[in-house]
Point group: C2
Chain length 218, copies 2
């Protein structure tokens, strides 16, 4: 997610995805090809290809002759995306665990310590994602990991909006879940790790779903 590709299409794709994930381009916002081409450098052609890719990833939606915009998700859609995470991420974790090294878990714990030391909203989102992705490094299946990243990407905006509007309130819950997850991983306890991960995602889903103010119709 961090490597910068050489081709123009790859570069524009990378930049656009980053702008959507960072919130610089929010849900409902329109993406004009010429604007993007001028802003990111290049002609409209690589922009169109990048938009096609983003559309297949679910990060934008393209309507024929009417252009691309960032989709506005309602509560049910975000809920389903989280239900998908609840099903797929334990699978990735179980696949990853046998190949996970002690230093992988060390790195994850270092991230957790930074989270507990106190960070702002934007840093938390980045570190939380890094931590979870680190636990999946042993899973080298492209399709599974690509699907999981898509699920994170599609819900990124709502996670950030939730955190910025006060967040979960009880930070210790997240930390306890992370610690339990990492401990289970350390012990090679696949089932335990899967259960803690499931509970972690499930609780987040429920908190997001009850934050109705995130999903007011526009």
């Amino acid at each position: 997610m961090t490597e910068a590709p050489a081709s123009t299409t790859g570069r524009i794709l990378h930049s656009l995805r980053g702008e959507i994930l960072s919130g610089a381009i929010g849900p409902g916002e329109r993406l004009r090809q010429e604007d993007i081409a001028a802003r990111l450098g290049g002609s409209r052609l690589p922009v169109r290809e990048a938009l096609r890719t983003l559309a297949a990833e679910g990060l934008v939606e393209i309507e024929a002759n009417k252009g691309a915009r960032v989709p506005v998700l309602d509560r049910d859609e975000v809920q389903t995306l989280y239900l998908m995470r609840e099903r797929l991420e334990p699978l990735a974790l179980a696949t990853s665990l046998p190949r996970l090294t002690a230093s992988d878990i060390d790195a994850a714990e270092a991230i957790q310590e930074r989270i507990e030391a106190g960070v702002d909203v934007i840093d938390f989102l980045t570190l939380d994602r890094e931590l979870h992705m680190l636990t999946y490094t042993g899973c080298n299946d492209e399709q599974l990991m690509a699907t999981i990243e898509r699920l994170w990407n599609s819900t990124q905006h709502y996670r950030r909006a939730f955190m910025e509007s006060g967040g979960p309130g009880r930070a210790w819950v997240i930390n306890a879940e992370h610690r339990l997850l990492l401990d289970a991983l350390r012990q090679g306890d696949s089932e335990g790790a899967e259960l803690h991960l499931l509970g972690h995602i499930r609780r987040t889903r429920r908190e997001l779903s009850s934050a109705l103010h995130l999903f007011v119709e526009e």
Copy 2:
């Protein structure tokens, strides 16, 4: 999956996807932009956009300056795709069931009767897919259904190769599983339906995994 779009890009995308799913273009085969443009009508531009979309779907892989080809999956990759189906399709089924009408189930049973009446390999693949997708019609979540369709698409070649090389041998097993699934749906038994579906996908995964001749290195 069957509607023919008006735009050139959409038409080419639809045709290319169909050719890959039908086996007209097999794994490892290269896709030259100019060939496709000449064959399907249009310039290379819409072809490139269609290839980008197919790449994001996992139906082709694009290497910079080297073009697109249909990916060759090994046994582990197909296995993981099926494990993903085992996780996601019961979710789609549970979401679908409350909105499923009696006539939906009637239609699915009609398909099952056609399968039992005896069909060739290609018809079976089509009907089997139609049957399962029918059971998901009540699930109107775009992302979940798109992900499931991608999983079917990515594994379509190996399913067909398996069927053509003798298949499961015991056709009654599939029919029993389908009947049990449909019966549970008829009774509104969500848990039972999920279990039968899981068993159905799981058995297919195991049979495919043990058919090593499908995955010889090239």
